[in-house]
């Protein structure tokens, strides 16, 4: 039984949002009430929960986090400096609240704020699908509090000209950021979505994000999430996808920032012939904890899932990969592969790898593998023997280790941006060890 005094701040925030909830659709209000009750019943996950064995959220309990919906209507002067210098359409979230006033209105797509979208039948219809997924208490918290979200609809057979770049900016000390993004991809629709999480220096805030996507028949989505939160921040995010017949998903998670981060990727194959690729790169320094969890449910036949998760860990950082794959009895001709590779740059860094395959069908191709290693000293010597400084050589080799993940980013400008952030991070790591 969780300690109520520690959860009281969250109950208070929920109470404060009551006037806003009154403007929402009935079903949404009921859903939020249920979720809040469930969160308060369970409290935060603890290390006694198997799924949270390595990621300790104790620091979150009892912290007086705040959220201020009114702030979403005040002026925001950082807009220009935060816009990515890329050929994209930009959507802004500030402290967890969607800011339509400063966001672009991309052509051919419908972008609606959540309070308004809540009344549309399309939104209700989309949300129904996500009941299939298991919920943990953090996700319950997002369902309860994630009111300032956005609903994005890409109509049938529409191909987005430019990627949609969603900036999640946090600058409120003690801010409780609960962004929510719901994406519906119509039949044969194609889109690239980038989520970029960042925050003001030294601000201690808590991002708890939820992105839910529905891919109708033959839709193709490329998703890239960049997590460069401030080192004082906590970050939790879930990315979910329902994949119907012949749909294709590529989701890349890049975890560089925050003091503690957990990214969950959940995929449900609800129709045959769908494919997904889930990849991630974590780069840890200091005492960072970077945790990735995936759950892929092969509920339909002839679907393929490919997972590649890499960690580069320096200092006393910790990288965790837990990958669950379930191949159901009827899901014949399934293809499911999981790989986790870890590069430890210091003797204090730690990697934990837990691939979990549960196969109930008999005609399937499944594999999993995990490797934990250090930089190859012969390679370091080879580069040094050509005049390259030892630190630079180690940086080059660590970058090379990550190359396989970055190659999955199709957009050149974005790839450059990610590469730049990774190099900065590796430079700090090199100075630390």
């Amino acid at each position: 039984m969780p300690d109520m005094t520690e959860l009281q701040p969250y109950a208070d925030v929920y109470g404060k949002l009551a006037p806003l909830r009154r403007r929402e659709a009935d079903w949404l209000r009921v859903m939020r009430d249920d979720a809040m009750r469930s969160f308060l019943d369970q409290g935060f996950p603890t290390v006694q929960d198997e799924a949270w064995r390595y990621t300790d959220l104790r620091a979150l309990s009892g912290t007086r986090f705040v959220t201020d919906p009114a702030a979403s209507r005040t002026a925001f002067e950082n807009e220009k400096s935060l816009r990515p210098e890329l050929d994209v359409d930009t959507l802004f979230f500030v402290n967890g609240w969607f800011r339509p006033q400063i966001s672009d209105q991309p052509a051919g797509v419908r972008v609606t704020s959540l309070p308004e979208a809540g009344h549309s039948p399309e939104f209700l219809e989309t949300m129904r699908h996500f009941h299939h997924f298991p919920m943990d208490s953090l996700q319950e918290l997002n369902v309860a509090l994630g009111m300032g979200g956005v609903f994005i609809e890409v109509p049938d057979h529409t191909k987005l000209k430019r990627p949609l770049y969603i900036i999640h900016w946090s600058d409120s000390h003690g801010g409780l950021c609960q962004p929510k993004t719901v994406l519906r991809m119509g039949r044969g629709a194609r889109a690239t979505i980038i989520e970029d999480f960042r925050g003001a220096e030294g601000k201690m805030y808590f991002t708890n994000s939820m992105t839910e996507t529905f891919l109708d028949r033959g839709a193709a989505l490329e998703h890239c999430k960049l997590q460069s939160e401030d080192r004082a921040a906590f970050h939790a995010a879930v990315f979910r996808a329902i994949q119907t017949e012949e749909s294709a998903l590529s989701s890349i998670s890049l975890a560089f920032g925050s003091r503690l981060a957990r990214h969950t990727g959940d995929v449900l194959f609800s129709g045959p012939g769908a494919k997904c690729s889930l990849t991630a790169l974590s780069v840890g320094e200091g005492d960072q904890v970077l945790d990735h969890v995936t759950g892929v449910d092969h509920a339909s036949p002839a679907c393929g899932s490919e997972q590649l998760f890499k960690n580069i860990l320096g200092g006393s950082s910790r990288g965790i990969y837990t990958g669950r794959v379930l191949v159901r009895r009827d899901a014949q001709k399934s293809d499911a592969h999981q790989t986790n590779r870890n590069l430890l740059l210091s003797g204090m860094a730690k990697a934990d790898s837990r691939p979990q395959l549960e196969i109930l069908a008999d005609d399937v191709k499944c594999s999993h593998g995990a490797v934990i290693g250090q930089l190859d000293e012969d390679s370091v010597f080879y580069l040094r023997s050509r005049g390259i400084d030892e630190k630079v050589a180690r940086g080059i080799l660590a970058t090379a280790f990550a190359a396989e993940i970055l190659e999955g980013i199709k957009h050149d400008g974005l790839k450059e941006k990610v590469l730049h952030r990774m190099r900065e991070k590796l430079k700090r790591l090199g100075e630390e060890t």
């Binding site: 010597f381 023997s385 390259i388 080799l397 090379a400 990550a402």
Partner: protein, 250 residues
């Protein structure tokens, strides 16, 4: 250029080199021959600064400096180059990016400006002509998926681009077919110059049909037991290493 005096080297506690003396002048090509396990590769590796080589005694002076005190990369910047017997694959590192980074480090140390992409390409292309390499090598990862011969050619290309003063070639001929051997030797011969010295380590005399050394040394049991001119190599080819007086090899 290079003075090696009574050099003793151990690897993992086992003594491999047991007192080497060798003097190499600018412009000279020395061949080091010897049976397997005699310490030939260790000699080139200790000069390049491989961390596994522990120097227990002796000295190495290179252009008036104590070579053994310099870190690996400083040696390279001072003009020491080791062509590896087994070049390392580095997946994910582009070959031309690697070469350019290396060249710019070496140039910086020589007080020259860093090269931009265009100037670098000019240098690179002339190097590639020497080793008859096609441009597809540049976009590939360093040595990844290269055949044995391609890897060795890549080593010679690096040598041509970096223009070392002292080139150490460790069994550059091993695993090469006749064509590749011709290309590699041709590259080495083109690099010969009055201000560059080379040390070739080889098991077989075959390489010396293509590259004529000024001096030949026989290394056995961790010591140089015999030195002579190019004819010594022919004797060895004819009579085998047993011909060398085993007393001298101890």
């Amino acid at each position: 250029m290079l003075q090696i005096k009574n050099l003793r080297v151990s690897i993992e506690g086992k003594e491999i080199l047991k007192g080497i003396d060798l003097a190499v002048k600018a412009g000279e090509v020395h061949a080091i021959m010897g049976p397997n396990g005699s310490g030939k590769s260790t000699l080139t590796r200790v000069l390049a600064g491989h961390p596994s080589c522990e120097v227990t005694e002796g000295s190495v002076t290179y252009e008036g400096r104590n070579l053994l005190e310099l870190p690996v990369e400083e040696r390279a910047r001072a003009g020491v180059f080791l062509a590896f017997q087994y070049p390392i694959d580095i997946p994910g590192v582009n070959n031309s990016y690697f070469l350019r980074s290396a060249l710019n480090e070496v140039r910086k140390a020589r007080g020259l400006e860093e090269l931009d992409a265009m100037d670098f390409l000019t240098i690179l292309k002339s190097g590639m002509k020497i080793v008859e390499m096609n441009e597809s090598f540049l976009t590939r990862s360093v040595n990844e998926g290269f055949s044995g011969g391609e890897k060795k050619r890549n080593e010679i290309l690096q040598m041509a681009v970096l223009e070392p003063k002292l080139a150490l070639l460790d069994e550059t001929d091993s695993g090469l077919d006749i064509d590749a051997l011709r290309v590699v030797s041709n590259g080495v011969n083109l690099m010969r110059s009055p201000d560059r010295a080379m040390i070739l380590v080889t098991h077989y005399q075959r390489l010396l049909n293509y590259i004529t050394p000024d001096h030949v040394h026989v290394l056995m049991g961790g010591k140089i037991v015999l030195s002579g001119d190019k004819d010594l190599a022919l004797h060895l080819e004819e009579k085998g290493y047993e011909w060398v007086n085993p007393d001298r090899a101890q």
